[in-house]
Amino acid sequence: MIERGSGSRHIAGRAGEPDSLKGDPMADTDGGVQIHKMGAWSAGPGCHGGCGVKVYVKDGKLIKVEGDEDHPYLQGRACPRVLAMPQYVNHPDRLQHPLKRVGERGEGKWQRISWDEALELCEHRLREIRDKYGAESVVFGQGTGRDAGGFIIFLAYAYGSPNWTLFGLSGISCFTPRLAAMHSVTGDFTFPDAAQFSPQRYEDPEWVAPKVMVSWARHLAGSHCTDHYFSGHWVVDMMKRGTKLIVIDPVCSWEASRAEIWLQLRPGTDGALALGMLNVIIGEGLYDKAFVEKWTHGFDKLAERARDYPLEKVEAITWVPAEKIAKAARMYATSKPAAMRFGQPLDSNSEATATIHALNCLWALTGNIDVPGGNVITRPPFGVTIYPYSTEEVIQLYGEEFVSNLTKKRIGADRYPMVKNFRAWALSDVVLEQMETGNPYPIKGLWCQTNNFLANTAQDPKRHYEAVRKLEFNVVVDTFMTPTAQAIADIVLPAGSFPEKDSVFTTGVPLNAIRKVISVGECRSDWEINFELAKRLNPEAVPWKNTRELFTQRLKASGLTFEELSERPWAMAPKNHPSGTVPYRRHEKGQLRADRKPGFRTPSGKVELYCTTYESWGLDPLPYHREPIEGPISTPEVYKEYPLILITGRRSGVFFHSEHRQIPWLREIEPHPTVELHPETAKSLDINEGDWVWIEGVRGKVKRRAKLTPVIHRQMAHALHGWWLPETDGTAPNFYGVWDLNVNQLIPMGKQSTSGFGGAPNKTMLCRIYKV
């Protein structure tokens, strides 16, 4: 219908359509409908998937979003959240103008101001703080929404603050621990191969379907389709092509119910399970001897460590029967190729980076690295980065000297070598501590963008609330008024959803262009807001005329300008591209290392089962398991009083974290803030479906409605995170009901892993549940 190579097309209205077509935007009779192709991204659906969509616009208003059948990622398919875009974009509660607080914080008294005044105010207050205390006294906090955080690090660095963080999330326990571990062990990130590197996808002659896909701590129902790098519904495509499943999940997910083998482990014991599997694979000689010999470092030491995890011991730790573990290990090791996708709960292990190290050893020992249908090395498309995922990329963007100067004051970098050396985050737990103590220097302001920490991101949100409300100046940038904005903001800036902005998606395999085709009120893109403010604060850091020019410069390695990319509107690097961004077997071809020698980008040139990088950072160079901070083994006394393990943070398919509670079509599907319990557990507690119950832990209690389902383990409970009620009072002290509902109040800060990354215990706290 729409020719490739053209981003937009005008569809003329058709006269004389029958009445039955009324309400069908495509059948409009009074005027034109414009269809624009682009990448979808947050804000709107949330997610970081990288699909392509068609945005339908009539009279300047978004009327429909459909999948783009010509985009290779999803071939026209789409998630519920992107299909609900008309209700998101045109929602009456969208923030549409900059607001200035005129009452006390939390009072809900706001005055509409112009962008000029808003930026002027921000500039003035931020300069004041910088002059008086130094730029490092302002923290720039992101969440995971919108175009990730490229624009936030951009603003922080232009201002001169090193303190860019995932504000509130203990141990930055989402993705960063997995990235840090893979980067240390393999020198690159390795993700399951669903032929995403080829525009031909499953028809690519080089690709083969994995014989086995291990879904480790991931489930499809809440998948954001391609789910970043983790296949999402591509798993179903592969099942149709013969792929068998091994599922590792305490909850019986849909995938678990379709799996050959399902291991229902106790939350937080993934490291022990992985070591038990390694022990079987090594002990029974099932590993890929040629690959291990040629391409790995430290096999004997790993073998010795794995021997500390005999199956009886692992069974006792994980609650998974020994014979099932052995069966899964054998099946994984003897099915070649095999791929593994691995989710956020691993980042929540007490020693997250050690756990992920163990998983990485699994796909290394079995020779499943960078082979078709295995776990393939994934780099930014064409080497283009807008959002930096590693220190190398940050240095590439900002220069070594600049970054090393900033690192001197970066919070947490002095205490945690991994935080210092891998990725430029300030460490969330230490940021909070420093806000409270003022040591070694005071924190005076928070720039909070794509982050709703009061309802979602933060563990111990009350502690965060108390710390942030004492700061001198806080800005919140968001699409809707949130509990966080109501509670702490002095200025609220309205951000645009994806069809309201120009942007580039660089965090998957394709480069996708996103283009502004509509406006809502005075909303601006996060990039534009930060670009303008950065220019005011430090004109030298902003040599570009506008964001499009900035994007074009960043896109250099692709050979495309922003406008050219928009016309396409996606591009994939060809095979053997010099950036080394397309598989396979790049270690053999010398495509991974800077010196172009064969091998991996690690000190030894091999996959480091014994990780010398960890060793140089003072960390255990071998994987190990540490018990969750609370649990039947670590705190048996507490377990007697609080006999259920509380899992939080499982993803919903209709909500992205704390978003979408005000979108009618989506909320209709999941109307209530629930806690899920096994029917037998509920019965023993005299709880019926729909009852309001307390979930109580040693740190407090919150209210939820009981939902009974046999997919939950009898000794566990599951509560979705991110709940607030936009339909209730937003002012203090209610703040849209967060204090009643936010389950993170049961979870502490400051329990980060030894490496600094990982450890937010949001899958493993103990609780008891009883009727309200």
Binding site: A27, G76, L83, I669, V711
Partner: protein
Amino acid sequence: MARNGLMIDYEYCTGCHSCEIACKQEHNYPVGRGGIHLSEIITERPDKSLRIDYLPFPTQYCNLCLPRTTRGEKPACVKHCQAATMYFGSLAELAKLMEARPHSALFTPI
């Protein structure tokens, strides 16, 4: 004219809800009304393990996306199904597809 229907290969339906929202968007249905309604059916196998099935049921508000299919497009739900497990076509075509699909259902909403 051959009668058309919707076939669901529910071996692969993951319960993602895209069909429901695709339909609502296409027809601008309000909360409380939709052309397709997803059900979850959980059953225990003899070995006590669970089988989770999802099945979308086309309601009285499903018109098989007549305007779309007249234009040669797929129905909104079929196009957007994340598991690509919904099929639209004539009953004869769909019945043929069903022969190789052990867990499938055919609907003729209109």
